[in-house]
């Protein structure tokens, strides 16, 4: 903004040209938005098309509105999608809790407390930031299986245990960065009032870290809701399936008749993420900034 404003001031003829440039810019942007959003509209349109129209009518809008796809999709398999949604919601919400609590504790230690080897542990934590989850999946599977947790009484433990142990280094890092922005004078003041490390955590850091906690909660919900790899590996019984794993059952059933229901369930599965997006879009967009750049 300031760039245009100032250059415009130095060159008298600029304003009118800037106005036209702005219009061109807007047209280009709208065109790109249309291309980018087209797949989403197409998905929604297809989800309410009849089987016949899915093959013949390739436009965005259906000629006959067919909401029946949602009904058919919901009960397309032996268990209803309601079950899969509940499973997904449970895994995602518990992951949110696990990440928020465990990452906050670790971040407080890194950001505020002095202890031996802190620098080393911090470097290790940063190192795990870029550690691909795919590398660990085989041995984790073996370990959890040998503990009887894979396909066990409650098959979500292998998905959830890591989340309660702050293994999502991204969130630890994000919170450390955030806490460094909290003025140390507040700690000192609390210390003078007789607070120890726990008191400072409870009365200073915890209440002031709410924005970072919210960002963590939103991202861990969305990532877990969308996650496929780990859920595919660790969930083996239909009744335990989460939404993404259940959706792949549609691909297995090669019959053409399932396309409409498949799209309907795909749309439904994206709905929670989309609602989060609507509610928190500013925070989401800003969240990736704070995490990566504003050191």
């Amino acid at each position: 903004m300031t760039a245009t404003a100032t250059t415009a001031a130095t060159r008298p003829r600029a304003p009118r040209r800037a106005g036209r440039g702005q219009a061109v810019r807007l047209v280009i942007l709208i065109a790109i938005v249309a291309v980018v959003l087209y797949p989403l509209f197409w998905m929604i349109g297809t989800s309410v098309k009849s089987q016949e129209e899915i093959v013949n009518n390739i436009g965005l809008l259906p000629e006959t509105f067919t909401p029946g796809n949602y009904v058919d999709g919901w009960s397309n398999f032996d268990l209803s999608f309601g079950r899969f949604f509940l499973n997904s919601a449970m895994v995602s919400l518990l992951t949110v809790v696990g990440n928020a609590v465990s990452c906050l504790l670790a971040a407080y230690a890194f950001a505020r407390l002095r202890f031996r080897l802190r620098g080393v542990w911090f470097a290790v934590m940063i190192g795990t930031l870029l550690l691909p989850g795919h590398v660990l999946i085989v041995p984790q599977y073996i370990l959890f299986r040998s503990l009887g947790l894979v396909g066990g009484e409650w098959p979500y433990l292998p998905l959830l245990i890591p989340q309660f142990l702050a293994t999502e280094a991204f969130f630890v890092f994000l919170m450390v960065q955030f806490m460094r922005g909290i003025p140390r004078e507040l700690d000192e003041a609390a210390k003078i009032d007789g607070a120890n490390a726990f008191g400072i955590f409870r009365h200073v850091i915890l209440p002031l870290s709410r924005p970072a906690l919210v960002t963590t909660a939103i991202f861990s919900f969305i990532w877990t809701w969308n996650d496929f790899f780990r859920q595919l590996v660790f969930l083996s019984d239909l009744e335990d399936y989460t939404v993404p794993v259940a959706l792949t059952l549609f691909i297995d059933s090669t019959s053409q008749s399932a396309v409409g229901p498949m799209f309907a369930m795909s749309v439904l599965s994206l709905l929670p993420v989309f609602l989060f997006f609507l509610a928190f879009q500013r925070m989401l967009v800003e969240g990736i900034n704070t995490s990566g750049l504003k050191g």
Binding site: V101, A106, L113, L131, L165, R184, V273, G295
Partner: protein, 326 residues
């Protein structure tokens, strides 16, 4: 690996925290050390149980013929056989490496170019910016899901939206996702479609470029194009570097869309056999977990080497201006 992969801020951050540490350490230094480890304990436990021990276990298993069916106590040590097989007698392994490299080498630069291009278009504060920024970011939130992969495959199938678009121009399409020459490209398009996340980071970087530089450049008579090359790009190079490292590493790990497109096989004719998909097939379809562990370790080393290369070449083209960090 820990140090080589640490992104830019680390060294600075640990440094900036240390000085105040001496002040006010005083009497309860001992208690604070204890408290530190107490607060850190979930993370430490996770590091050991979920990261370090599994890594060591997989290193050990990579020298065995372990399949999940025989008990761990009866595995057979096979030395370097898994690695030998990988490098000398498993054509599908090399194929997966090629597919993954091809995917990353094409999709990542295009995705970053799209991100930078749109960021430059958006880099003016006017009323619509927030809305556009959010709309462009939406695919990054949805794109990694199974649902979107399903949509994508349908879109590039025979009756899909892409062919209907082509037919408007009189071009006859084909089922792209079933064509070994094109299936991977459809996945690249899906990756590029998610340019919003790096775009947001570019936008934040563009905001940091001091306007005085543009003023000075335009006083010197520099054109918009030369301002882009001589001011914007150098000033943005740390952000480009950050995005490049992040997106490359992400690109190597593409799994979901390839799984959905090929129903977990890597087809058609192995054309979408991404490295992680190949690893999954070895470990969880063929149950050759020793072999899959060897693959995982080579993958880890490859990523570490590539990251190290990025960081060592970075100093030749990444321009850090002094004091910008503060």
């Amino acid at each position: 690996m820990a140090l080589t992969t640490a992104p830019g801020p680390t060294r600075r951050d640990t440094g900036s925290v240390r000085p105040p540490a001496k002040r006010g350490a005083g009497r309860n230094r001992h208690g604070e050390g204890l408290a530190g480890y107490l607060f850190l304990s979930p993370w430490l436990l996770g590091l050991m149980a979920v990261t370090a021990i599994p890594m060591l276990l997989s290193l050990y298993l990579s020298f065995t013929n372990y399949d999940i069916l025989t008990p761990l106590s009866e595995v057979e040590w096979v030395g370097l056989a898994n690695y030998e097989r990988m490098f000398t007698s498993d054509p599908s392994y090399w194929h997966a490496v090629q597919v993954t490299l091809k995917f990353a080498l094409i999709a990542v630069p295009l995705k970053l170019a799209a991100a930078l291009g749109v960021a430059l278009l958006l880099n003016r504060a006017w009323r619509g910016v927030g809305l556009f920024r959010s709309l462009f970011y939406l695919p990054s939130l949805l794109g990694g899901s199974v649902a979107l992969a399903i949509v994508w495959v349908s879109m590039f199938n025979r009756d899909g939206a892409f062919n209907s678009l082509l037919s408007l121009f009189g071009i006859e399409g084909k089922p792209w996702v079933n064509d070994p020459d094109w299936a991977l490209q459809t996945l690249m398009v899906l990756a590029i479609w998610q340019f919003g996340a790096p775009m947001v980071i570019f936008l934040a970087g563009l905001k940091q470029v001091p306007t005085e530089l543009y003023e000075a450049a335009s006083v010197d008579g520099a054109s918009k194009v030369s301002q882009f090359w001589n001011v914007t790009l150098p000033m943005l190079s740390p952000v480009i570097f950050f995005n490049l490292v992040l997106e490359t590493i992400n690109g190597f790990q593409g799994f979901t869309a390839a799984f959905v497109l090929s129903n977990g096989t890597g087809g058609p004719v192995d054309s979408t056999l991404m490295y992680t998909l190949n690893l999954y097939i070895s470990g969880f379809t063929n149950l050759e977990m020793g072999y899959a562990s060897a693959m995982a370790w080579v993958f880890l080393l490859a990523i570490a080497v590539i990251t190290a290369i990025f960081f060592s070449t970075g100093r030749f083209w990444v321009h850090y201006s002094d004091g910008e960090d503060r």
